[in-house]
């Protein structure tokens, strides 16, 4: 069993780095930490950074999770290889770019690139963005999955993930007391579906709704509330077909021992109990997207 400490960052390739930087800073409300000709990293909380845009193919995306010790990283690499995943070790340069001590990367059965990182950097300085979106931190990642359940097995059998709830075959997976840190949504393709940032409360979430409207950013879902996690959410379109969400409130899994995952039907009301509509294929009813 590979113990994941926490979700750390997402790296996204983009053909238009200046536009992505503008979005992350001015629209999303992250704090630009470092900018080179090749990449820009953004802070949202105590972590040095939780989002990186780099010059490259938008299909190049990776999500990083922290493991605690060098030993755990070695064991993780071995266990993944035993189970048929091909694991690559990051070189020193790549580790430095990621501000981690060491890392390995592999692809899940859908082809999503995952990085396991050791000793990622924490910031001693508090997060202070130029736009007051009220972000408190990176909350969760939604991934597209075309593996028919194999990815869920990866996270729950090889890793210490637990399913908190299902909507159809979409699974919400937790690693700590948050309802989920990772959501897997059945899809015809791989990729990051949405990156979710927690905000202080409903006020900040609704302020952002009007802010995004005025900035002519496409809101694709919400404001709404998820019956599963009880989070209020607002989902909008970012660069390169990646969605971003603000989430607020929501329920913790209070008792790990007694929590039983619930199965919700695959229908719009299972994604939003307020009835907000969406065209996101992974959330629309019917056949697999």
């Amino acid at each position: 069993m590979i113990e994941i400490e926490q979700l750390r960052y997402v790296r996204l390739g983009t053909r238009d780095l200046p536009a992505a930087i503008d979005f992350a800073q001015r629209i999303l409300g992250l704090q630009l930490i470092e900018k080179t000709a090749e990449q820009a990293s953004f802070r949202s909380d105590f972590r040095d950074h939780t989002l990186v845009y780099f010059k490259g193919d938008p299909a190049e995306q990776s999500v990083a999770f922290e493991v605690r010790t060098a030993d755990a990283l070695e064991r993780a690499a071995a266990l993944l290889q035993e189970n048929g995943y091909s694991v690559a070790r990051g070189d020193a340069q790549a580790a430095e770019r990621r501000k981690v001590k060491a890392f390995v990367s592999f692809k899940d059965k859908s082809g999503n690139s995952i990085e396991l990182v050791l000793r990622p950097q924490t910031s001693g300085w508090r997060y202070f963005p130029s736009r007051d979106a009220g972000i408190t931190g990176l909350e969760a990642i939604a991934l597209r999955s075309k593996s028919n359940g194999a990815d869920e097995k990866l996270w729950t059998k090889l890793f210490n993930g637990r399913v908190s709830d299902w909507v159809g075959d979409a699974s919400y997976i937790r690693f700590d007391d948050a309802h989920h840190r990772l959501a897997l949504h059945p899809s015809s393709r791989a990729g990051v579906l949405a990156i979710e940032y927690a905000v202080e409360g409903v006020t900040q979430l609704m302020q952002s709704q009007y802010f995004l409207q005025a900035a002519q950013i496409k809101i694709v879902h919400g404001p709404g509330r998820r019956p599963t996690s009880e989070q209020m959410f607002l989902t909008f379109a970012g660069p390169d077909d990646v969605l971003f969400s603000y989430v607020a409130e929501g329920k913790k899994i209070a008792n790990e021992a007694t929590h039983r995952p619930r199965q919700y039907p695959r229908q719009p009301l299972s994604f939003c109990s307020w009835g907000s509509e969406t065209d996101i294929p992974e959330f629309t009813a019917g056949e697999r997207a």
Partner: protein
């Protein structure tokens, strides 16, 4: 008695509005709430503005205090006139410029321009500075006095201020539970002596000390801690020689009946219990 509810804002004339705006935002850490013709308004807390720089003579300064009722404004005007202060009633245009519903203006016995305002504007949008100075709000002012005993009598007898402590003869005056909202300092001429913003913690005071030092902003006192209010502080110089202060942890006076003002020495030890020495003329013998 004129019941001051709170200190509302400070208006400062400047010959260099752009330079003052740069200081107020990038250094001090305030947020521009409005750029008007010949004036810029700054926000530091839940209020619409707490500082206004306008094109004009730097000696043209005013400090505003909030009054609860419009009737109080009328009564205050009558009372002030009785004591020989010339009172000007604010016009609707002037009220609009100050973002208040109504106001009167007069000079205190030293000649400081004071405005009493009714219903100053609050704003629904919370303050978010351009730099992370940790400001929680505009909190108090220092006022120069040419006759400290006369002016203490004015603020405590004509107005509702109470003496919280004295440093030498300089009284620190409260109008609510905050240790002081007006601090009077002897000086050959009138004027606003310093402008205070509260910050979240002592860490913020120290961070700003480093930040402003790096940018060669003149430090004039601190970092230190006032034995009077127990606040950690930092004083530095802004445009037109105005002194700005950050402080954190100001004492709250909960029990009006039990509290007794204390006498502190008018020397560095009376101003700072850490041992820093002021380079502020009004804080020196």
């Amino acid at each position: 008695m004129i019941k001051l509810q709170d200190v509302s804002y400070v208006r400062l004339g400047t010959r260099d509005l752009e330079g003052a705006t740069h200081f107020a935002t990038d250094y001090l850490g305030l947020e521009v709430s409005e750029r008007a013709k010949g004036a810029v308004y700054f926000k530091s807390d839940e209020r619409e503005h707490t500082l206004c720089y306008f094109e004009g003579d730097p000696a043209d300064q005013a400090a505003a205090f909030e009054i609860a009722e419009r009737d109080d404004l009328v009564q205050a005007a009558a009372q002030l006139e009785k004591f020989g202060h010339e009172v000007t009633l604010g016009t609707p245009e002037q009220s609009e410029l100050r973002k208040v519903r109504d106001f009167i203006s007069f000079k205190d016995p030293s000649g400081n321009r004071i405005e009493l305002v009714w219903r100053p504007a609050y704003s629904g949008k919370r303050y978010h500075g351009v730099r992370d100075a940790g400001i929680t709000g505009f909190s108090h002012i220092g006022l120069c006095t040419t006759d400290v005993a006369r002016d203490e009598a004015f603020w405590t007898q004509v107005c509702n201020a109470r003496v919280s402590d004295r440093i030498g003869d300089a009284p620190l005056l409260r109008i609510d539970e905050v240790h002081h909202t007006i601090a009077m300092f002897p000086s050959p001429r009138p004027g606003i002596q310093h402008i205070n913003h509260q910050v979240e913690s002592g860490d913020d005071v120290m961070r700003s000390f480093r930040f402003l030092t790096d940018r060669q902003v003149p430090m004039v006192f601190g970092p230190g801690r006032h034995p009077s209010s127990s606040a950690k502080f930092l004083y530095f110089e802004g445009p037109d020689g105005m002194v700005f202060e950050y402080s954190s942890g100001v004492r709250s006076i909960a029990d009006e009946l039990l509290y007794r003002e204390r006498q502190l020495s008018f020397d560095p030890a009376g101003f700072c219990e850490w041992g820093s020495k002021p380079e502020i003329p009004e804080f020196q013998k």
